[in-house]
Subunit: 339 residues, 2 copies
């Protein structure tokens, strides 16, 4: 399709403070042509994930996106041309395709396409059955190792990962408390997602509420936010409590390195463990998580919520929503319809 | 022995800043009489341990020592009168006998006496073959789980626990770097104890030196000190690195809660684990550690060093030495000779 153009968001500068539209540049390039072993994908949805702020800023567990390169990001789309025997025209796929309308995906590389199972909407494949759900599944179960009857606290609980973590913990027989920003999010946690309690960090004293809600301490704290809420959970850590470090969204928009958790020494006196993980390490076992999540989803035991912004040009603004807490569930950007 | 008096150090006030003599009061009480099932011990050595600063100040993993009570502490002595079939007159024992000349020890309680194996000096039973060695053994091997070839960094490396940790790590095939205060301590680590390198935190930039000495990162950091050295180790954490929290002596003398480790998020990006422990949890397995440690000691593979201050009245000053780094190895106070 040499007559069509590929719109791309490239990284224009390293972010300072909150992510802004001016951190990106909208450019046009020719639609690429797949080589042998590759497929050409028309992206239909872009995924917005807090970790992208880190990719924009610096080397972390992946090298920083280079200035001028297409913004790194997960996307989902349809195969328009396949030169790989495992993929066919019209098939839905997800992968690290970047913030662009058209992408070359090559099995066995970082841009490898993952086939979306029949009957699964692309939105779902990008949220609860995608890296978000896989993150929640392995982070909670493999790193946190919750036991039935334990008290699990999740921050960023109304977000994509947090709401999945809380629901899975409930399915495993735990008592679950979510920390989220705003009454509407908190209402949804308890009334729609089955959380036992919710704390609104914008209006409530999280440490005091955790003390009241967890008289025997927090057995497992799944941290998506860092900062004061991490410290409040550490203050209430139960004997042999675990802290799973999944993210620290409260810190990502700070240009200076924020303070560390002053209560970390409770890990010593209470024989606690604080452990981080990156979902990429669990990708070889993704099918295990997706199988379990899909089963719960089919049985109605797991709810998925996506927050879809419309239009390719909205991608930077959609990403920014994560850092001001505007998103309700998984943040996606719809950038096209299946051709 | 109703005509003799029992000198005791009681807690006079909660410490502020560094431990001071005025935090304690020297009192005299009648020598107690053992009841059935108890033994009367004449303490000969008092053990000084950093964790005692916490016991003086507040409830931690044990309740705080009450004002006016005999100072809690490990001691070693000889059985003078036994009303328990497992102990006999003249036998050497260690236990949580408190800072006093005479103590009642009762098997099965917190004051339980532990028999010193034949041929083992009381000093050794209170250091490398006592809680100090057991702490090093389980903290390193069970919590830290070092693998041969890994790089292990130990802080407080010239102290009782740290020097044992470093030597055990060497025995397990690791590369070991110690952080200590002062050229003499550092010299001892490399020239007497077999450490691969030592960093003098008083004159060197620990973070820079760790970077130079650990180009592939720190696989295991055994922390006795907290503060800036913990942060420097986190900054250099290797992929899947572990931080074992054993103590934080740099913080114990602060009246305000010090800052937390700002680099804690490296636990996430590098899939690290930071875990605390309390040696008391491992006491049911103490024989396993003591057996291994005694074997290495016999074979000359492990060196023990004790720093003995003389005289019961020196106990507060001896404890204070830990917090100014004056001690060379295990700090003990000799308070009597076997009768």
């Amino acid at each position: 399709m040499p007559d069509r153009l590929n719109r791309q968001w490239t990284l224009a500068r390293r972010p300072r403070g909150l992510v802004q539209a001016a951190d990106f540049r909208l450019v046009e390039a020719p639609v690429p042509t797949p080589a042998d072993g590759e497929v050409l994908v028309r992206n239909l949805f872009l995924s917005c994930d807090p970790t992208q702020r880190g990719w924009m800023a610096m080397d972390t567990y992946l090298p920083a996106v280079r200035l001028g390169d297409v913004m790194r990001g997960i996307a989902g789309g349809t195969v328009v041309e396949s030169r790989h025997p495992a993929f066919r025209h019209g098939q839905l796929v997800t992968g690290m395709f970047g913030w662009q309308e058209w992408a070359i995906a090559r099995p066995g590389t970082g841009s490898a396409p993952t086939a979306v199972p029949p009957g699964v909407p692309l939105e779902t494949a990008l949220s609860i059955l995608g890296l978000t759900g896989i993150t929640a599944y392995f982070g909670l179960l493999e790193v946190g190792r919750p036991q039935p009857g334990e008290t699990v606290v999740v921050s960023g609980a109304a977000g994509a990962t947090g709401s999945a973590v809380g629901q899975i913990a409930k399915l495993k027989g735990c008592r679950v408390i979510g920390v989220a920003g705003g009454a509407e999010k908190c209402r949804r946690l308890t009334q729609e997602l089955g959380f036992d309690a919710a704390i609104d960090y914008r209006t409530e004293d999280v440490a005091a509420r955790l003390g009241a809600l967890c008289p025997e301490g927090v057995d497992l704290y799944f941290d998506n936010v860092g900062g004061e809420i991490l410290d409040a959970a550490l203050a209430r850590l139960a004997l042999r409590g675990r802290v799973v470090l999944c993210g620290a969204i409260s810190r990502y928009s700070d240009d200076r390195v924020g303070p560390g958790p002053v209560n970390y020494l409770n890990l010593l006196t209470r024989r606690g463990r604080m452990e981080g993980f990156i979902v990429l390490d669990f990708l070889p076992r993704a099918a295990e998580a997706v199988g379990a999540l899909a089963g719960w989803l089919r049985e109605g035991k797991l709810k998925d919520r996506v927050d879809v912004q419309q239009g390719f040009e909205q991608a930077p603004a959609a990403l920014a929503r994560l850092f001001t807490g505007k998103n309700q569930g998984k943040q996606l950007v719809k950038i096209g319809d299946a051709p």
